[in-house]
Symmetry: C2
Subunit: 328 residues, 2 copies
DNA sequence: CGGCACGGTGTAACCGGTTTCAGTAACCGG
DNA sequence: CCGGTTACTGAAACCGGTTACACCGTGCCG
């Protein structure tokens, strides 16, 4: 059994208050007392119990972060950016992956009981659940989901870059484009879709939509099959994320469709595989998203902020050969 | 301010002991009392403080996991496999990324004070530090690092599959192979190297080694430059991980070297990009590593195990065109 | 020389739960 | 009608820290 503050106090011949003071603010005890307490603490190799401390201070010294998954390359980067800043600020980081489970709400509530505040990423839990937490006074920051009233939010730019993407496709010779994705799966997707549609309309690009069940490589393959059964392919396919685009391109190739000759393809996220597949895509400042969220949360916890903040970080169109200009 | 057990007790006209019992074991209080306590708890919307509970029960109900980073595709998967099982078991998960920081040791010690046990991945902290924790009675499981005396360990098979990889390369017509990696960076790499060397010797493959500073795409590019300056390329290059191999292949291509015609290349990990680059590699059961570690740790914490266990999960050679047989 | 400020310390009341132990009332069999 | 279970409940001790407050001695000032 580890030794407690009372053991140290007894052994040093002082009161527990003095031990506590010696541990947390050495300058306010006399040098002689400090020496004795230090010696006793070393002797018993005493480490203050985090639990005792947390209870007395009424704070956990920990932040939570909630995300749907960690499989893709996406959330891992955000989490690492977050962890980096949080641990810099001396706080522990609790994680929770919801995996689209319906029990997510209770899991998050439980998590909230273990930390001083939390960051919620993407498609994990309802706005309603977040509002309830906010109402209970839990400091909250959302990342990559549309702002919830009164809650701090950090996101990557979607609309404008999707708009630019439409322009780029038109410049590359496309006359028609299909947006591939599932807007129900994530609010980001909804924004990308809206941006693309707006841009397409602006430059006179014919635009339509194809919904997929899953936003992974499998979904891309299914879409490829569907598109190949149509009388004609569109000029371009703008996918809601890279995994879709990669699965789509692989399946198209197997059917003899050559990208970009027969159809232009774009993704979103700039995952590592996109470089190797020469996929045009959009890069997001993933670590920055996490880091910014961590700083926002810290401000909230410390009570340094009243007005809710909304931050949108810029994204960047990365043009590769999957969308290079078509010959007429 | 949230309400406490005493508020509920007062409002329900019972003692705090009864409230506690009603919350955790409803069957042992009378139906009438239960009803009153429930009503009061609802009314005040009372949630038992995790901190109070933890202090009284002398357990955190949380596990820690320590890893070097989360950037690559590697650790993210392990962490997610771990989180999945741990949260299934009703425990919270604390993460800590060391990023090769020298302060890692203190960070881990602090982390250990906030949880009931921890899992340590790969190249994060010295064996000595782990032994000290183990001695202090912290339940410990290591993943992907060589077993430390008395500590549970889970790892993926390296030696045998690396041996098989050497055989495969010889079968594909290679007469010489270079192992590319940095054995100091990770114990896994050391084992892969040893397995490859053993296999190469067995099948009469000439084998040598090229060390790189960093085990990422950049490192692969540097290696490509170095190799191209030699009088002749080896027949095959076995890289310690996929990122190295991918960087290497890209840089080789830029120099007009064609894979697999001019040289065979293999990686290790089977990251997503490896599929798109048609890279021969070795797949590891990443989620299983995490999940197994979580179960081991749970057994340790529950005191169900005395003898330290060492588990080695099988890996699988994935042959793609980057190592397909050369024509003579 | 009296009073005051101040550095240093101890006592005890918290923080919010769990759990032991003892006590009471209802119920049972003899 | 009595002794012994049985079912429930409450008082109080505990988990391991922090901190408000009181206290004491010393040095300084008027």
């Amino acid at each position: 059994m580890a030794s407690t503050i009372r053991d140290v106090a007894r052994s040093a011949g002082v009161s527990i208050a003095t031990v506590s003071r010696a541990m947390r603010e050495p300058s306010i005890v006399s040098v002689e007392t400090l020496r004795r307490v230090r010696a006793a603490a070393d002797e018993l190799d005493y480490t203050p119990s985090q639990l005792g401390r947390q209870l007395a201070e009424r704070r956990h010294g920990a932040n939570g972060i909630v995300f749907p998954d960690l499989s893709g390359p996406y959330y891992g980067e955000v989490v690492v950016g977050y962890e980096d800043v949080a641990s810099e600020l001396g706080r522990a980081v609790l994680i929770l992956a919801t995996h689209g489970r319906p029990a997510a709400r209770e899991m998050i509530t439980r998590l909230a009981g273990r930390c001083d505040g939390l960051v919620v990423l993407g498609h994990t839990v309802s706005d309603e659940a977040l509002l309830e937490l906010a109402e209970r006074g839990v400091p909250l920051v959302t990342v990559a989901r549309p702002p919830v009233a009164g809650v701090d939010s950090v996101a990557a730019e979607n609309h404008r870059t999707a708009f630019a993407l439409a322009t780029h496709l038109a410049d590359s010779g496309a006359r028609s484009v299909v947006f591939l994705g599932n807007p129900d799966r994530s609010p980001d997707v909804t924004e990308r879709r809206a941006g693309l549609f707006a841009g397409a309309r602006e430059v006179g690009l014919e635009v339509s939509e194809l919904r997929v069940e899953t936003m992974d490589e499998q979904g891309g393959a299914v879409a490829a099959e569907h598109l190949c059964q149509q009388p004609a392919l569109p000029d371009a396919i703008a996918c809601a994320n890279d995994e879709l685009a990669l699965g789509l391109m692989t399946a198209l190739r197997e059917r003899g469709v050559v990208v970009p000759r027969d159809v232009l393809v774009t993704g979103w996220d700039d995952v590592m595989a996109a470089r190797y597949a020469e996929l045009t895509t959009v890069r997001q400042p993933l670590r920055d998203l996490g880091a910014t969220a961590a700083r926002f949360l810290d401000d909230l916890i410390a009570g340094r902020r009243a007005e809710p903040r909304i931050e949108v970080l810029p994204t960047e169109l990365i043009v590769r050969s999957s969308s290079s200009p078509r010959e007429r």
